[in-house]
């Protein structure tokens, strides 16, 4: 251990050793801060074998890094040289210095290091990594601690000038030091000493240095003068363009009183409301663009296309899903969406969490970022004129009606930390990067930043001031280690606002007292349960579901009638018998809206006793049901339909596969199999009729995750879901039941019936796809009606590519609106239709265990057939509309959560696969979008959409949706082309977020571009 000593500081040195400065507090008070500085003589120069610095204390594992002769490769300095760059070099030319090709030994001054740290922490962290890397020869010289090189700020000297002077002083010292240390020994060999070159972009600084006899150069000059070899052009490419007049390094300007506003203020509420009323302003939900964080859209009824918001100022602090008020620019200023991927993480990589929160207002970093953004923005503006056709209304946000902020799942950005030391208790300002790409980074202040690194955390946004580039928030709680299944699962649920708490006492009290021993009571005349119920226990009923299905809510039967017709029945679990209106269980189910299925977890809408037991139509037990029974001709024409509450006893629970096998096996001739065959015949006819009526056959990329075992739930592989005839059988009968029920309840309750509709998509939604198909494949997409669309989708074939049709269907699906529940009294009769199913009326009736809308439909149907009176709440249009709104939202969220869960597991599966195999997975993919600097691709085998990014610009033809990769042979890739991509899962360094990274393998390898 080193000895404990007292560092003596002579009083006469006080002027040099005290650092005095003023700082301004948040409240605007000015404080004088006095700091000590101890000057020493044992700060090493870092040159190997230096006589004078021998024996100076070094940290463990540290050794002098600079070769004694410096670098002798540069033709201008045959005697060898060391580089001593100033701050601006590191701020602007970091890429060059980081390059493995850039070899000269570098002396990094403490003054420079601290200035870089002050300007940009991310850059500082890169610089620090540089000093530690083995390939680089960088020595940090603590010039401010060495007595000869320490400088103090003089009167009328800006901090910037002082630093420059310090750098020059240190450079001269090094020169002198070199001659002293080498002079005596080498004098015999007459070898000249190596020189120390001050690298600076600042011409004024260079001039001053020259008068002091310091060798100085600009970076460009230095690199241009390098030896001609193959690496020189590459280094020249890395040089960032720096304008000659450089901005001062530090806030040379006096500390200005107020921080400058980055955003315009919002208009007062009264003005907003008046504007909306008069039609001058428009209100709508703000939707951020997930590919470009500087763009967003607001859909309003006034325009057929959404209003485009471009640039930070025009988006004016709107966050995804806020209700905003927009002012639309005159038509001449309208613009088209950008065709470039702008990634927030990489663009703002060097932005500083603290800079604008700093008590000393330093705006240069801000300016830098703004400039960069402005450049991107300008690029877009150029594109604006070219694409007149794609132009859409453009505007700016002038006010916010309602913030829809909630807690967001985030990661701490590790580069924004000032200290990642675990014992550090200091308050740090850091960035939290939300998991969702739609959200801006959030700035928060926390004392536990180091321990939160690598964790998923929950952050709420508190405010977004006009002076702050980022919204400010606070830490709520940690969810656990990123990429652990528990944390990811919880973060998914939180991210999509799925209520996942266990059911409360009050809810559980609503369950039947008998618990799981509840059975249908024996049939007696006095029995309550049996009143008004039909006894269908002797019917041959079976259920067909996916494997491992526990909540069986539908069962079917069919039998020939003596008159030659066929009786077909759909039996749905009678949930409304257990879930009575206005009970805690009912309220809970209404607020949950739907059961959420994640890959490895199900979040139930109803307590599992009901869902998986009492209501579930399990085989061999008597269960209460709600039945819809049709009499049909063998051609599947409906003669009549009746609905009844019933008691059934299912005879079998099949999986789709089992049912299919049974049906196909000619040896099976039992009643059950016959009934399945009968159902299948009817279903095929029903489907044919539906298709003839113009129903769409849409596709969505559904995949199935194979789990290792139920305990470990490690994904092994991913495969696409297989569809069998029996899937379609069940589907057809469910559709039939839903349509029949919809007609019935709409008849009985024209004002409050709970129905489901799918609005026809606006024509403009298809424009892009139509254009794409026409230009790339010469195909025409007819969208005048759903029938026409269905027919033209069938024509979208590529004989060489069977998957092409599915791809087009997926893309067409994305152009459509989503289906929604509604209350029949709230919209006009002619908008009831279901576009996708080509049905004039539709509802959901068949899954009351997992969807709340079905429970409402059950109640209304029960009242319609006179089984029970309708509960008072269902007579109120407003009540139904409110419930239905919640259910719609929950439904949407549940879908997204499910998809995100699948995505996460696909990622995990890929990772596992990559670990098992030596080569990263490669898959075939279709190009679905082209950007100026990337391609959107879709891997149908994995149902995975991804982005291939190119580091540098390639030739991009927006008109023809294609890019050209220059090379020995130019390769063009266009939308719909089949490519091969390499899929890797890499951990994002900053956010700890595992993300799928795709690179092209064929036709060109994109890893180098």
């Amino acid at each position: 251990m080193q000895a404990i000593t007292i560092r003596k500081r002579p009083t006469e040195e006080a002027i040099v050793t005290h650092r005095k400065f003023f700082k301004k507090t948040v409240r605007g008070m000015v404080i004088k801060v006095l700091r000590e500085r101890y000057l020493r003589d044992d700060v090493g120069c870092g040159i190997q074998g230096c006589r004078l610095c021998k024996g100076f204390p070094l940290m463990n594992g540290e050794f002098t890094t600079l070769p004694p002769d410096g670098d002798v490769d540069h033709p201008a300095f045959p005697t060898g040289h060391f580089l001593l760059p100033d701050t601006n070099v590191f701020l602007s030319q970091m890429d060059l210095l980081e390059s493995a090709l850039f070899k000269p030994p570098v002396i990094l001054l403490q003054t420079v290091l601290e200035e870089v740290r002050h300007r940009s922490l991310p850059l500082f962290n890169r610089l620090k990594a540089l000093t530690k890397s083995d390939e680089k020869r960088v020595w940090v010289f603590y010039n401010e601690y060495r007595s000869e090189t320490a400088v103090i700020r003089e009167d009328n000297e800006t901090p910037n000038d002082r630093n420059d002077r310090g750098i020059r002083t240190a450079t001269s010292w090094y020169s002198a030091h070199l001659s002293l240390s080498q002079g005596h020994i080498r004098s015999s060999s007459q070898k000249k000493k190596p020189s120390v070159i001050l690298l600076t972009e600042d011409a004024a600084n260079r001039k001053k240095a020259e008068t002091q006899g310091i060798v100085t150069m600009s970076v460009r000059h230095y690199v241009e003068g390098m030896k001609e070899d193959e690496k020189k052009p590459q280094l020249l490419d890395l040089l960032a363009a720096v304008s000659e007049e450089i901005e001062p390094t530090r806030a040379s300007a006096a500390v200005t009183g107020a921080k400058s506003a980055l955003y315009p203020d919002y208009l007062p509420t009264a003005t907003l409301l008046a504007g909306i009323k008069s039609g001058d302003l428009h209100q709508g939900h703000f939707n951020a663009n997930q590919y470009n964080y500087l763009e967003g859209e607001v859909s309003t009824p006034a325009f057929s296309k959404p209003i485009l918001l471009q640039g930070r100022e025009n988006m004016n602090r709107a966050v995804q899903s806020d209700i905003v008020v927009v002012e639309v620019f005159p038509e001449t200023e309208w613009s088209a969406p950008a065709d470039e991927v702008v990634d927030q993480d990489s663009t703002l990589r060097n932005d500083d969490a603290e800079s604008s929160a700093d008590e000393r207002d330093e705006d240069e970093t801000n300016d830098e970022v703004l400039n960069r953004e402005r450049r991107l923005f300008a690029k877009e503006q150029k594109a604006k004129h070219r694409k007149a056709k794609e132009r859409q209304p453009t505007g700016k946000v002038v006010g916010i009606i309602k913030r829809n902020w909630r807690a967001y799942v985030c990661h701490i950005d590790s580069t924004s930390l000032t200290s990642s030391n675990l014992t550090s208790l200091s308050l740090q300002t850091v960035f939290a990067t939300p998991v969702s790409r739609l959200l801006p980074r959030i700035r928060l202040r926390t004392r536990q930043a180091p321990s939160l690194l690598g964790q998923k955390i929950l952050v709420t946004v508190d405010r977004w001031e006009v002076t702050s580039r980022y919204p400010e928030g606070h830490f709520v709680r940690a969810l656990g280690k990123a990429e652990s299944k528990e944390a990811e699962q919880e973060s998914l649920l939180l991210e999509f606002e799925v209520p996942y708490r266990p059911f409360g006492r009050a809810v559980l009290d609503c369950l039947p007292k008998e618990g799981d021993s509840w059975v249908v009571p024996p049939k007696t005349s006095g029995s309550n349960e049996w009143q008004g119920r039909e006894d269908l226990r002797n019917l041959i009923i079976c259920s067909i579901d996916p494997p491992n299905c526990q909540d069986i809510d539908d069962a079917l039967h069919a039998r020939p009638l003596p008159n030659g017709n066929i009786e077909a029945g759909v039996h749905i679990a009678d949930v409304s018998n257990f879930v009575l209106p206005e009970t805690p269980m009912d309220n809970e189910a209404a607020s949950r809206g739907t059961t959420v299925y994640l890959v490895d977890k199900r979040i139930d809408m109803l307590p599992s006793l009901l869902g998986t037991n009492l209501c579930s139509l399990r085989p061999f037990v008597e269960r209460l049901a709600f039945s819809a029974i049709w009499e049909m001709t063998p051609d599947a024409d409906i003669i009549n339909v009746r609905f009844t509450k019933s008691v059934i006893a299912s005879k079998a629970a099949f999986t789709y596969e089992e049912a299919q096998m049974r049906k196909d096996d000619p040896h099976m001739q039992d009643e059950l199999t016959q009934s399945i065959r009968l159902l299948n015949q009817l279903a095929q006819k029903l489907k044919a009729r539906r298709m003839a009526a113009g129903a769409l056959n849409l596709a969505s990329p559904e995949v199935k995750i194979h789990l290792d075992s139920s305990e470990s739930s490690d994904p092994i592989d991913v495969e696409q879901k297989e569809l069998r005839e029996t899937n379609s059988l069940v589907e057809e009968f469910m559709l039939l039941a839903n349509v029949s029920v919809a007609q019935k309840i709409q008849e009985a309750f024209p004002q409050t019936a709970v129905l489901r509709r799918h609005m026809p998509p606006p024509k403009t939604n298809f424009e892009k796809l139509q254009d794409l198909l026409l230009k790339r494949k010469g195909l025409k997409l007819e969208i005048s009606s759903s029938g026409a669309l269905a027919a033209s989708l069938d024509q979208c074939l590529d004989p060489k590519e069977p998957a092409f049709n599915t791809l087009v269907r997926i893309m067409a699906t994305r152009c459509m609106l989503s289906a929604e529940y509604f209350c029949s009294g709230m919209v006009s009769r002619d908008t009831f239709g279901h576009y996708g199913l080509a049905s004039s009326i539709y509802t959901h009736f068949t899954s009351p265990i997992r969807r709340y809308a079905d429970v409402l439909a059950h109640r209304q149907l029960a009242a319609a057939i006179g089984y029970t009176p309708l509960h008072a709440s269902l007579h109120s249009k407003q009540y139904v509309a409110r419930v239905v709104d919640v259910v719609n939202r929950r439904h949407r969220m549940a879908q997204m959560a499910g998809r995100a869960s699948v995505e996460f597991y696909v990622g995990l599966a890929l990772k596992h696969r990559n670990e098992r195999e030596t080569l990263p997975a490669t898959e075939e993919a279709f190009v679905i979008r082209a950007f100026r600097n990337g391609l959107g691709v879709f891997v149908s085998k994995l149902g995975l959409e991804g982005l291939v990014m190119f580091k540098r610009d390639i030739q991009f033809d927006a008109e023809n949706y294609m890019i050209t990769v220059p090379g020995a042979q130019d390769t063009t890739i266009a939308v719909f082309d089949k490519v091969v991509v390499r899929i890797e899962v890499e951990k994002d360094k900053n956010t700890q977020r595992g993300r799928v990274k795709m690179t092209l393998v064929h036709p060109v390898d994109s890893s180098s571009i």
Binding site: I6, R7, E62, S419, T423, S426, T429
Partner: protein
């Protein structure tokens, strides 16, 4: 701005240019302050404290009289100008009272109070400048002032602050370091190696504690040497001064007088 400074950088320098085990500059002034019986101005780096000792003298009130020993009364006052931000602290500020109590309990086993029954020793501590390690400075200053006042002590009380940056211990923390690191202040008696005070306001890992304590004890010894030197120097000045005032008096006498 504070968080922008690296407490201990990769090359082993602290933010003020010291290394891990280097203490700040110590300035000791033992010259007479008007009416006090003994006083000391001590500075550890930029932290500066003036301690005045009055007594032993008759206790002010009966209630403060202890029949078999002297009562120690510590009053601490933090000057409003001692920090960058001007802030007046009342005498009854909880933190100030706590610190005064810590000083008092540190010196209770050190001062030979049994020699002065029914009397009182007043220690007035005035914090003039703060830059971390205030308690440490107060205790060291009090030791010196008590010696200067000629009050019999069992030993010096040497106090030192140490903290842990990750796994590296740091000695004599400045304000900047104190705000960032878990730290503790100890007061030790160099002759016996006993510890009369350990205070900790932040959470420190138990594995670090032993290491820090050992290190602080060693640093205490270094401080002891420094304080002894200052006392020695002061005594020599006094003796030299006496020589001038009474030219006839022989050197042996002065020495004898001092010993007495």
């Amino acid at each position: 701005m504070g968080s922008r400074v690296e407490v201990l950088n990769d090359h082993g320098y602290r933010s003020d240019g010291r290394r891990q085990f280097e203490l700040r500059d110590i300035g000791i002034d033992l010259s007479q302050q008007n009416f006090a019986d003994g006083s000391a101005i001590i500075s550890h780096g930029l932290t500066q404290v003036l301690v005045s000792v009055l007594g032993p003298r008759e206790a002010k009130s009966r209630s403060q009289t202890i029949h078999d020993r002297a009562n120690i009364n510590v009053e601490l006052n933090v000057a409003a100008f001692s920090t960058g931000e001007r802030r007046r602290r009342s005498k009854n500020d909880k933190r100030i009272l706590e610190m005064a109590a810590a000083i008092r309990s540190t010196f209770e086993p050190v001062i030979q109070t049994n020699l002065f029954p029914r009397s009182q020793i007043d220690i007035y501590v005035q914090v003039l400048q703060q830059d971390g390690g205030v308690l440490q400075t107060c205790i060291n200053g009090t030791t010196l002032a008590l010696i200067n006042a000629g009050i019999p002590l069992n030993d010096f009380a040497c106090a030192i602050t140490c903290g842990a940056h990750s796994t590296s211990p740091l000695l004599d923390l400045s304000l900047l370091e104190e705000n960032d690191l878990p730290h503790m202040t100890i007061a030790m008696l160099p002759k016996t190696g006993r510890v009369t005070l350990v205070t900790m306001e932040t959470r420190l890992h138990v594995d670090r504690f032993e290491e820090l304590l050992g290190l602080a004890l060693e640093a205490g010894n270094v401080l002891h040497e420094e304080m002894k030197l200052a006392i020695d120097k002061r005594s020599r000045t006094l003796v030299a001064a006496m020589k001038i005032t009474w030219p006839g008096v022989g050197e042996d006498l002065v020495e004898k007088d001092f010993d007495h």
